[in-house]
């Protein structure tokens, strides 16, 4: 049913787009009709796929690395009072630097290849992941921590067996945000300097006044983001289900 509604919304959007082109009579090098874009997408499918693969790789690697770094930072912050007092303000302050402004510097440091785009994506998702996970790690019921203390728990065991499982849904929230931000980071990196990727392809098409190809790249990018967001949402749902015990209930729990 939801799929049907989604399709209907898509058709409606395309129809409005086509109508807009017809009614205003906008020339195709300003706003191409959906049909033209579809034709361009089909004609350049190999090209688009090649560049999309590059962008997707950058985004996925950026997501994975950024999540690992963010999770480690959050655990570190949550396990030591002084780290939290000292590092958290620094971390918040660094957020005042717009990451996009760093793109030229990153290209200078990490080159025109994938590395600078991955670093860009990592930087842009690092903070949302860190802060969401840290929030979950530190918001454990104090009664539980007291109980753990009376049981003679070690710090690391409390982290591993109470704080981290409790914070998994928060990590999921951070990941959902990251899935939206990471492609933005990668594409901006590609705009600043690249020879591959959908961002690069868009600039190239724009320069050659192939506006229909530019739109086709844009749509490929949107599709990529939507698919990524969907996959991450599924992962986040699993994390929440684990923490609430409902995955156990269905017998999907971790094997001992």
């Amino acid at each position: 049913m939801r799929v049907l509604y989604g399709l209907a919304a898509l058709l409606l959007g395309l129809l409005l787009w086509q109508l807009l082109v017809w009614i205003t009579g906008t020339p195709h090098f300003i706003l191409p009709s959906p049909l033209r874009v579809a034709q361009a997408a089909y004609a350049s499918r190999a090209l688009i796929l090649e560049h999309a693969t590059v962008t997707a790789t950058e985004v996925v690697l950026g997501l994975i690395l950024g999540t690992i770094l963010g999770a480690i930072t959050a655990i570190q912050l949550a396990s030591s009072q002084w780290a939290q007092r000292l590092l958290l303000p620094i971390l918040v302050f660094t957020q005042a630097v717009p990451v996009f402004a760093l793109a030229p510097i990153l290209t200078l440091w990490f080159g025109y290849g994938m590395a600078s785009k991955i670093v860009m994506a990592v930087l842009i998702i690092y903070f949302p992941v860190t802060s969401a996970f840290h929030d979950g790690l530190t918001r454990v019921d104090s009664g539980l921590l007291d109980l753990a203390r009376t049981m003679g728990a070690t710090r690391w065991q409390v982290m591993r067996r109470i704080r981290i499982p409790h914070a998994l849904p928060s990590l999921g929230t951070g990941l959902r945000l990251a899935a939206v931000y990471a492609p933005i980071g990668a594409v901006i990196g590609e705009w600043v300097g690249a020879s591959k990727g959908l961002g690069y392809l868009m600039l190239l098409a724009n320069g050659r006044v192939k506006i229909d190809l530019m739109f086709a790249s844009l749509i490929a990018l949107a599709l990529l983001t939507v698919v990524l967001h969907k996959l991450v949402a599924i992962l986040a749902d699993h994390l929440s289900a684990y923490a609430s015990g409902s995955s156990l209930q269905k017998g999907l729990g971790p094997k001992k």
Binding site: G143, G245, Q249
Partner: protein, 242 residues
């Protein structure tokens, strides 16, 4: 295991500007059950937390001491007023949480045995969502009983149980915790008169000793002396509330 110590708490406790209780003295005889009664909010749970050296919202001036002079907190098993079970673990895994948190290998056989004793044998591998309030409380009881420690503090451990199960669990706890120093918080005069070597009534000014029935615990439900003591205690508590 070292023999269970006697414990004495002495002092007064303030919350902000207002005195909650004291100066008063609470003495727990070694190897015996003390049942603590008192109106809601008088500070019963707070007294448990003070003995455990856990943070409370207020200021305690006084001392908590074991008669052997050794530190207390690592010798106490604690069952808090809320069950504090972890939803991502099975009932069995919740029961052995203490060992897991200490990085030890848990005694699974003992955990299964205790779960059987609290009537959760069929629910060991289930998640908490499948449990009723009373079952959750019994899981928390099993988790407290598995900790083999000389002092046990139980904060209203049977409050969510039906009358029949409650009587069963009282007998189980009395058996497993025999000869330990136990402090049990309860609102139920029947429970206190059934289980206590000593019965303490907590008020803001003092902790009064209420004479328990002459026979040693655990006392039979239909024992006339126990029933008489229970009725007197109830009458007293009602008078106090009014």
């Amino acid at each position: 295991m070292t023999p269970p110590p006697a414990i004495t708490l002495q002092g007064s406790y303030t919350l902000g500007d207002t005195r909650l209780f004291g100066p008063l003295s609470v003495h727990l005889p070694a190897g015996q059950w003390t049942c603590l009664l008192g109106p809601s909010g008088v500070g019963k749970s707070t007294i448990l937390r003070l003995i455990l050296d856990l943070s409370t919202g207020g200021q305690f001036t006084g001392s908590v001491q074991a008669d052997d002079g050794q530190p207390l907190p690592d010798r106490i098993s604690y069952m808090a007023q809320s069950d504090l079970l972890l939803p991502w673990l099975t009932v069995l895994e919740n029961t052995v949480l203490g060992a897991r948190l200490r990085g030890e290998t848990p005694d699974m056989d003992r955990a299964r045995h205790l779960l059987t004793r609290v009537g959760l044998e069929a629910h060991q591998t289930k998640t908490l969502a499948a449990l009723s309030g009373g079952m959750r409380q019994r899981a928390a009881l099993a988790r407290a009983l598995i900790e083999d420690r000389p002092v046990v503090l139980l904060d209203e451990p049977f409050s969510a149980l039906d009358a029949g199960t409650r009587a069963d669990m009282q007998e189980l706890a009395a058996e497993v915790l025999q000869d330990k120093t136990v402090l049990l918080v309860t609102h139920d005069p029947a429970e206190a008169t059934r289980l206590g070597h000593q019965i303490l009534l907590l008020s803001p000014d003092e902790a009064t000793v209420w004479a328990p029935p002459p026979t040693p615990p655990i006392r039979a439900l239909q024992d006339p002396a126990t029933l008489a003591c229970q009725a007197e205690l109830l009458a007293h508590l009602r008078g106090q509330v009014r």
